[in-house]
C-alpha cells in the first residue's frame, strides 16, 4: 500500500507545521498477538489544543490513544515499537515505572468509572497514591479540580456521599476532576461523552473547550460533529493506518484524501 508513505509525508514532516508540539509519535507499530493493528503511525500532538482521533470502529484509534500513556501495557499479549515522546522524554524508554508517566498524561474513559468511594475520596485518590498526605493540600486540590471540571457547585455539600449517587454526566465530570487532580499536562479522552445524554454531552464539550487553555487534550470520538465542534486538529484512522492528519477546519472542508472525504460525508463507517 502506498498510504504509509503518504502518512509520513503529510502528518509530521512536511505539510503540517505544528509550532509547539507537546507529544510526538514516530513510526509506531502495535500488535495484539500476531494481529498488526497500527501501522507506522507518526503524529505530533500540539500543545494546548484539542486533537480529535476519528475513524470507524476497529480502526485502531482507541488503541493508539492508550499507547500515549502506556495504558496498553495492562493488556496481555501486546507489543509495540516506535517512539512516543512527551516534550523531549521518551515515555517508553526514559520511564522505568509506567505508573509515573500517567500522572503527567492522564486519561478519561468511555464509561465513567468512579471508585466505589465518596466523591471527595475519588478526586483525592490520585494525590494519595502519589504520596501526598497533607490534608489541607488535598482539600484544596479537590476543590480546585472539581471547580475546573464544573462540578463543584453541584457537589460541594455532598462530598462525603458515594460517587455512585451522582448522575451519569456528573460521574463523568467527576472522572475528569479526578484526572485533573494529579495536575497532568496531557489529558487523553476515550469517547468521554458517548454514553451520555445530549445535555450532559454539551456540558462535557464546553468543559473541554475550557480545559484546553491549560491542558493538551487528545480525544477519541465517533461523533463527527463533535470532532468538528471541539477539536483544533483531527487525525483520521482507517484499518490501522493514519490516513490524514491536519487542521480540523481544513479537513472537514477540504479533505485531501478520498477515504477521508468518504468517511466524513458518511459514505462508510
Amino acid at each position: 500500500m502506498d498510504t504509509k508513505k503518504d502518512i509520513l509525508k503529510e502528518s509530521k514532516i512536511s505539510d503540517l507545521k505544528i509550532p509547539n508540539y507537546k507529544m510526538m509519535v514516530l513510526k509506531q507499530n502495535f500488535w495484539y498477538g500476531n494481529n498488526h493493528v497500527l501501522h507506522d503511525i507518526s503524529i505530533d500532538v500540539p500543545e494546548n489544543k484539542v486533537t480529535a482521533l476519528i475513524g470507524p470502529s476497529g480502526c485502531g484509534k482507541s488503541t493508539f490513544l492508550r499507547t500515549l500513556n502506556r495504558m496498553n501495557e495492562s493488556i496481555p499479549n501486546t507489543r509495540m515499537d516506535g517512539t512516543v515522546k512527551l516534550d523531549d522524554i521518551d515515555i517508553y524508554k526514559d520511564f522505568k515505572d509506567s505508573s509515573k508517566i500517567r500522572t503527567r498524561i492522564g486519561m478519561v474513559f468511555q464509561r465513567s468509572n468512579p471508585f466505589p468511594k465518596s466523591i471527595f475520596d475519588n478526586v483525592a485518590y490520585g494525590l494519595r497514591v502519589n504520596g501526598i498526605k497533607d490534608k489541607a493540600i488535598i482539600a484544596e486540590v479537590v476543590e480546585e479540580s472539581l471547580q475546573q471540571a464544573a462540578l463543584w457547585d453541584e457537589v460541594k455539600d455532598i462530598l462525603e456521599k458515594s460517587a455512585y449517587s451522582l448522575s451519569g454526566g456528573q460521574q463523568q465530570r467527576l472522572c475528569i476532576a479526578r484526572a485533573l487532580a494529579v495536575r497532568p499536562e496531557v489529558i487523553l479522552m476515550d469517547e468521554p461523552a458517548s454514553a451520555l445524554d445530549p445535555l450532559s454531552t454539551s456540558r462535557i464539550e464546553d468543559l473541554i473547550g475550557e480545559l484546553k487553555k491549560k491542558y493538551t487534550i487528545v480525544i477519541v470520538t465517533h461523533n463527527m460533529q463533535q470532532a468538528a465542534r471541539i477539536s483544533d486538529y483531527t487525525a483520521f484512522f482507517f484499518q490501522g493506518d493514519l490516513i490524514e492528519y491536519g487542521l480540523t477546519k481544513e479537513m472537514f472542508t477540504r479533505p485531501k484524501k478520498k477515504k477521508t472525504e468518504d468517511y466524513i460525508t458518511g459514505r462508510f463507517g
Binding site: M71, S74, P114, P116, N130, S165
Partner: protein, 318 residues
C-alpha cells in the same frame, strides 16, 4: 409451533391431543419430585433426631463445664474452647495465604495462561483430597519433619517440644484443607471487579500494588470474608485431619500455648460415640454436642451470607 401447542393444550376440545403431553410430563415430574421428597425426609429425620434428643441436654451448665465421670455427665466447654482456638489459628494461617494466592493467580499472571490453569486444576484437586490424607500429611510433614526438626535445632536436650501433636499443627493442617475454599471465593470476587476500576487507578498514577491495596481488596472484601467463614464452617466440622495432629481424648486443662494439645467438638463426638467406657450412658451428651456443632456451623454460614449481602448493599449506597 409454540402457539399451536399452547392453543391445543389449553383447549379441552380434543382430548386425544390433550392427553399425550400430560402423560409424558407426569413420570419425569413425579420422579424428580420423589427425589426431592426423599431428600427432605432424610434431612428432617437427621435434624429432627438430633434436635429431639439433644435439645434437652443443652443448658448453660452444659456449655460452660468440662466433662465428668468418664464423659457420662458434665459439659463440653473444653471442646468448644478448643474448637474456637483451633479455628482462629486456622483463619490466621489460611486467609492471608489464600488471598495472596488468588491475587497472584488473577492479578499477577495472565489468568488464561497454561501455567495458571494448571495451578487452578491443582487447587481444585486439593479440594478433593480426602481429609484423612491431610491428617496423615500433617503428621508426617508438620510434626515429624518441621516439629522434630525444630526440636533438634533449638531444644535438643529437653525432649519433644514441637515434635508432638499440638494445636498449631492441627490448625495448619486444617488451613491446608480449607485453602481451596478461600482461594476460589477470593478469585470469584476478583473476577467480578470491572476492568474499568483497575484502569482508573492506573490512569491516576497508581501502581499495581496501590491498585490492589486501595481498590481491589476493598472491592473483593465480601468475597474474602465469605470464603473465610465458609472455610471456618468447613474446618470446624473436620475430625480426620486433627486426629493425628493435636486433638486429645480428654484434657484436664485448656490449651494456652501453641504446642498444647486440645479438645475439639467433632473429635469429642467421635470419642463419645466409639471410645467412651459406656456409650449408652453418654448418648444425651453426644446428641447435645452434635446439636451445638450443627448450630455453630449454621450460624457461621448464616453470618457469611449476611455479611456478603450487606456489604454488597453498602457498596452501592455507601
Amino acid at each position: 409451533m409454540m402457539f399451536d401447542n399452547t392453543i391445543i393444550t389449553n383447549k379441552p376440545a380434543s382430548p386425544a391431543l390433550d392427553f399425550k403431553p400430560k402423560s409424558h410430563g407426569y413420570i419425569p415430574r413425579g420422579l424428580t419430585f420423589a427425589a426431592v421428597i426423599i431428600i427432605i425426609i432424610m434431612l428432617v429425620i437427621i435434624l429432627g433426631n438430633i434436635v429431639y434428643n439433644g435439645a434437652g441436654t443443652i443448658s448453660w451448665e452444659f456449655l460452660s463445664h468440662p466433662p465428668e465421670n468418664g464423659m457420662e455427665s458434665g459439659g463440653i466447654f473444653p471442646a468448644i474452647f478448643g474448637t474456637v482456638f483451633l479455628v482462629i489459628l486456622m483463619v490466621i494461617a489460611v486467609v492471608p495465604v489464600g488471598v495472596m494466592t488468588a491475587l497472584y493467580l488473577y492479578e499477577y499472571t495472565d489468568p488464561s495462561s497454561k501455567i495458571t490453569r494448571i495451578i487452578r486444576v491443582a487447587i481444585n484437586n486439593l479440594a478433593g483430597v480426602p481429609s484423612i490424607v491431610f491428617g496423615l500429611f500433617g503428621l508426617g510433614f508438620f510434626i515429624s519433619f518441621i516439629g522434630n526438626g525444630m526440636d533438634s535445632i533449638f531444644f535438643e536436650s529437653e525432649g519433644p517440644v514441637w515434635g508432638q501433636p499440638a494445636i498449631i499443627w492441627a490448625a495448619l493442617t486444617l488451613a491446608l484443607l480449607t485453602l481451596p475454599v478461600v482461594i476460589v471465593s477470593t478469585e470469584e470476587a476478583l473476577r467480578t471487579i470491572p476492568r474499568e476500576l483497575r484502569e482508573a487507578s492506573y490512569a491516576l498514577g497508581g501502581t499495581k500494588l496501590q491498585t490492589i491495596a486501595r481498590v481491589i481488596i476493598p472491592q473483593a472484601m465480601p468475597g474474602i470474608l465469605t470464603g473465610s467463614i465458609l472455610a471456618v464452617s468447613r474446618g470446624a466440622g473436620e475430625v480426620a485431619p486433627i486426629m493425628f495432629t493435636g486433638a486429645a481424648y480428654y484434657l484436664p486443662y485448656l490449651p494456652s500455648k501453641l504446642n498444647d494439645q486440645f479438645m475439639e467438638m467433632g473429635y469429642h463426638i467421635f470419642v463419645m460415640a466409639t471410645q467412651s467406657p459406656d456409650v449408652e450412658a453418654t448418648k444425651p451428651i453426644l446428641f447435645g454436642t452434635v446439636l451445638v456443632l450443627l448450630l455453630l456451623t449454621f450460624l457461621l454460614n448464616f453470618v457469611a451470607i449476611f455479611i456478603r449481602s450487606s456489604m454488597r448493599r453498602k457498596r452501592v449506597n455507601v
